[in-house]
């Protein structure tokens, strides 16, 4: 049980597929500075580059289906800065109607079905102006396991709604959730006033809940090691296991107080018979332009 609780300590490492980083990073010149204090703490992860962008997706694949070629229900572009502990999450509505390279216009999540993680990354890069370093895909079952592994999560919900998996319902304010309840919280759409947009925000609240648990437990001996091992062993990934280990420690460096979350705005409409969202591309590019370099977003979403 202890092993399973710590198993998925690293939230960003569920089902993984890598995309070669293409951003050139300039190491700043070293500075020799003494800290004239008797007591103190020095803490750093030497990642190069320090900022990593991950396209994190929740797949609606059923058992037996290929997660890497399914449709993504949750799409979040997440930047983390291992040096400063900042992070930015950009929620992309699932029904965003955008150009998919080589396939015309379609819902953004269709890119995963057409061309797997590589095409999905290219589609999001074209949409936002920022190419993710890694693509991460987890099934909702995998997401549940992740929540169970960290011992459950606490989310602050702005809405109250009912669901059979939670007899007491989801109330406005803090809710302590188990794996299945967290899954429903991140997936439910109909009771939310702004549908897909509010669902994306709830997904970010669930991610924050996982991060807070990781931060609380990250200094437990062996916690990160067990979490990263579970990620690279149990899940299909071609991420270099050494890089996965470093990335795991980088995720654990993120401070919840330095995380900023935004959901892309958009206009709902229809394309043919399909109900879609026309996302605000200018907003997407504005966010990535401001946060792309250091994963730190100042000002408005």
């Amino acid at each position: 049980m202890r092993r399973s609780r710590t198993a998925a300590a690293v939230a960003g490492l569920a089902l993984l597929a890598t995309i070669t980083p293409d951003a050139a990073y300039q190491e700043p010149p070293a500075a020799l500075v003494s800290v004239a204090r008797d007591d103190g703490r020095a803490q750093a992860i030497g990642r190069d580059p320090a900022v990593t962008w991950i396209l994190a997706m929740g797949s609606d694949a059923r058992p037996g289906q290929r997660v890497l070629r399914s449709r993504a229900d949750a799409i979040q572009l997440v930047g983390i800065n291992a040096r400063t502990g900042h992070a930015t999450a950009i929620g992309i509505p699932r029904d965003s109607y955008v150009p998919i390279p080589g396939y015309g216009r379609n819902r953004v999540n269709a890119a995963l079905t057409f061309g797997g993680p590589q095409l999905m990354a290219r589609t999001v890069a074209q949409m936002t102006g920022l190419r993710p370093d890694y693509v991460m895909i987890t099934s909702f079952r995998g997401f549940e396991r992740m929540v169970v592994a960290v011992g459950g999560i606490t989310v602050r919900s702005p809405f109250a709604f009912e669901d059979i998996v939670r007899p007491q319902g989801y109330k406005v304010g803090k809710n302590r959730l188990n794996g299945l309840q967290a899954h429903i919280f991140a997936r439910i759409r109909k009771p939310l006033p702004r549908g897909d947009f509010d669902r994306s925000a709830n997904q970010q609240r669930a991610m924050m809940g996982i991060l807070r648990e990781i931060r609380r437990k990250r200094e437990r001996p062996g916690f990160v090691e067990r979490g990263v091992l579970a990620a690279v062993r149990d899940l299909s990934t071609d991420l270099n296991p050494v890089e996965a280990y470093r990335l795991g420690h980088a995720v654990a460096q993120v401070r919840p107080s330095r995380v900023r979350t935004c959901v892309l705005r958009g206009r709902t409409g229809s394309a043919g018979a399909a109900s879609v969202v026309f996302p605000d591309i200018r907003q997407a590019r504005s966010i990535t332009r401001r946060a792309g370099r250091d994963a730190r977003l100042e000002g408005r979403c």
Binding site: S34, R41, A42, A44, I45, V224, E225, Y245
Partner: protein
């Protein structure tokens, strides 16, 4: 006969650490304190590795940790150079460490030290071993250093925390991250402890 003034923690010792300091001690009593050797132990392994690999890994990690501890805190004093402390750090981690030099080494005060004696050097390693190979590890340090200064005072300093390591192609380990705390009073074991 000179009188040394000891500072630092004066109570709460357990059986594993040196006992409480005396406030006024003759130099002869503490001039030659016993130096504790570096003890490195594999505390846990996430994954499985062959038994014979365990000792090999322990030695390799010990070499990396020892290089840092020796270069940063031990060695001959007074001294002003700490060039060797980060020899086994990755380029990026070394660059970061140079900014934290005052906490990660004795750089800001070593010129005033006469000697540093390790009274405890305990390292517990938590290894990450996918595919039956140790590819990464967290080395949790707990050092107790007895520092003799040029004003004839002696201070006890605790250095605790973590070195984050990954394995290189030649099998050695390099430090890619650190979380090191230095205190002049005994730190809590939890968190940065070993």
């Amino acid at each position: 006969m000179a009188v040394l003034v000891l500072t630092g923690c004066t109570s709460g010792s357990n059986g594993n650490e040196p006992g409480p300091e005396r406030q006024d001690v003759t130099r002869g009593d503490v001039l030659e304190p016993r130096a504790a050797p570096l003890g490195v132990q594999i505390a846990s392994v996430a994954g499985q590795i062959p038994r014979r690999q365990r000792e090999q890994i322990r030695k390799r990690i010990a070499a990396t940790v020892s290089g840092y501890v020796q270069g940063a805190f031990l060695g001959d004093y007074p001294r002003t150079t700490y060039r060797g402390a980060f020899g086994d750090f990755t380029d990026s981690a070394r660059s970061r460490a140079r900014r934290d030099l005052g906490l990660l080494t004795h750089a800001d005060r070593g010129a005033r030290y006469v000697g540093v004696t390790p009274r405890r050097q305990q390292v517990r390693v938590h290894a990450y071993a996918p595919r039956r190979r140790v590819l990464g590890a967290t080395a949790r340090l707990r050092l107790v250093l007895l520092i003799e200064r040029d004003d004839e005072t002696v201070q006890r300093v605790w250095v605790t925390g973590r070195l984050l390591l990954t394995r290189t192609r030649n099998g050695s380990f390099r430090v890619f991250g650190y979380d090191i705390r230095r205190t002049s009073s005994r730190p809590a074991v939890a968190g940065g402890g070993a």
